[in-house]
């Protein structure tokens, strides 16, 4: 795929400018899967739903074309289209972090190991069981902080031992959009409690190291068994309790953070058995707490894939609320 194709990923809701969308409609783009095309807009065989199973067929068809047909390029009109259908770009100077989520389980030695994402109805307890659907997986999202926001994390007069709260807008963003079962696709859980603080660990002419600590309580408080008239799958029964610990380093020379590593560790509950990612909760139909972990890691590259927006910043999820979390929570 890497060497023989030009690979492109498109958000099903935000396929691009009006001209790009018109082109994609004309070539009958597969809505949820893989489509193969020439640069001239000719569709190649091998379209497939979900899996990239038609690559060989598409390559064979492409090889039968003349060089002129292979290199012809369709010109799209310069039409900016509806801005709402164009994927968001990170604001200038934005700090971008990858945010990884996974389920955990006790390892019997006082620590944790990765847990299987068990798909309801698929037998087996090993990775690859259940017709390959039960796997140990990691879910990815992005965190964006504007330049003004990440600068607000650095105290004006950093002295070792000094403690200050995480600024409200960042606290609310972390709590509402990340301190949750991210595989369940929360679109902003209710924040029951959130306290995060930054302690200056060291400060010098070269930089400032901050330790982030605290805890969040989001969604609905856990009750087992579920209250009367509610089942384990009642909408809105989801919640999470997480402890945070992180290390951030601001490099004065680069005038940027060069470390933004955070772990959130705790438990979540609630979900829906039809969402594969959350069925761990439902083995046996039991409403229970499940260990989970979230890791933030600074992204220093800016490839197209690095610029994919946080899911809840998209207009089809929470849009502006992503940036105005603190205001909304009032």
């Amino acid at each position: 795929m890497r060497d023989r194709f030009v690979p492109v990923i498109l958000d099903g809701y935000l396929k691009g400018t009006g001209a790009e969308r018109e082109f994609l409609k004309r070539v009958d783009l597969v809505g949820n899967g893989f489509t193969y095309l020439t640069a001239g807009g000719r569709k190649l065989g091998g379209d497939s739903y979900l899996g990239a199973t038609g690559m060989a067929k598409a390559l064979e068809e492409f090889s039968r074309l003349s060089e002129a047909e292979r290199k012809a390029r369709i010109a799209l009109p310069a039409d900016p289209g509806k801005p709402a259908a164009i994927p968001l770009a990170p604001p200038p100077g934005c700090l971008i972090a990858n945010v990884y989520f996974t389920y955990l389980e006790a390892d019997g030695k006082g620590g944790f190991r990765r847990a299987l994402w068990h798909v309801e109805g698929q037998p087996g307890t090993e990775p690859g069981s259940g017709h390959g659907r039960n796997q140990v997986l990691t879910h990815i999202d992005k965190l964006w902080l504007t330049e003004a926001e990440w600068r607000s994390l650095i105290p004006p007069d950093p002295k070792p031992g000094r403690v200050h709260p995480v600024p409200p807008a960042i606290l609310e963003r972390l709590a509402r959009f990340y301190a949750t079962d991210m595989a369940h696709r929360s679109t902003g859980d209710r924040v029951r409690a959130a306290e995060l603080e930054l302690r200056v660990e060291s400060a010098s002419e070269t930089g400032v190291t901050l330790r982030l600590e605290g805890r969040t309580r989001t969604g609905r408080a856990f009750e087992a068994p579920p209250p009367d008239a509610e089942s384990s799958e009642t909408p809105g029964l989801c919640g999470a309790e997480l402890d945070f610990l992180g290390y951030l380093h601001y490099d004065r020379k680069k005038d940027a953070f060069d470390r933004f590593d955070i772990v959130a560790l705790g438990e979540g509950w609630g979900g829906n058995r039809h969402q594969a990612a959350t069925t761990n909760y439902y083995r046996g139909g039991e409403h229970r707490r499940w260990p989970m972990g979230i890791a933030f890691q600074l992204l220093t590259t800016r490839r197209p894939i690095d610029r994919i927006p946080p899911q809840n910043a998209n207009p089809y999820r929470c849009g502006e609320a992503y940036w105005k979390a603190a205001k909304q929570a009032d």
């Binding site: 958000d11 691009g16 640069a39 772990v263 894939i305 998209n314």
Partner: protein, 78 residues
């Protein structure tokens, strides 16, 4: 408090503080993608615009593979 009681208390505290600083690096690494789990993400030079893909495909004489998710961005959180 007896010595045994104090030890028990300390052990209990350790058990309920899984996010202690000395465990940070191990936990962070545990949650990140494991092995080649994200090879499909990291090792494929995905573009995110069909216009750019058309340009590159014509220049390199290659076919375009478009991956679309009906419910968001295939390489993001959907």
């Amino acid at each position: 408090m007896t010595t045994l009681g104090a030890l028990t208390f300390l052990w209990t505290q350790l058990q309920i503080q899984p996010l202690a600083p000395e465990r940070f690096e191990g936990l962070h690494a545990l949650i990140l993608p494991q092995g080649r789990e994200f090879a499909w993400y990291e090792e494929i030079p995905w573009l995110t615009s069909i216009e750019e893909a058309l340009e590159k495909a014509a220049a390199e004489g290659k076919p375009i593979l478009v991956w679309t998710s009906a419910d968001g961005q295939p390489c993001g959180a959907t």
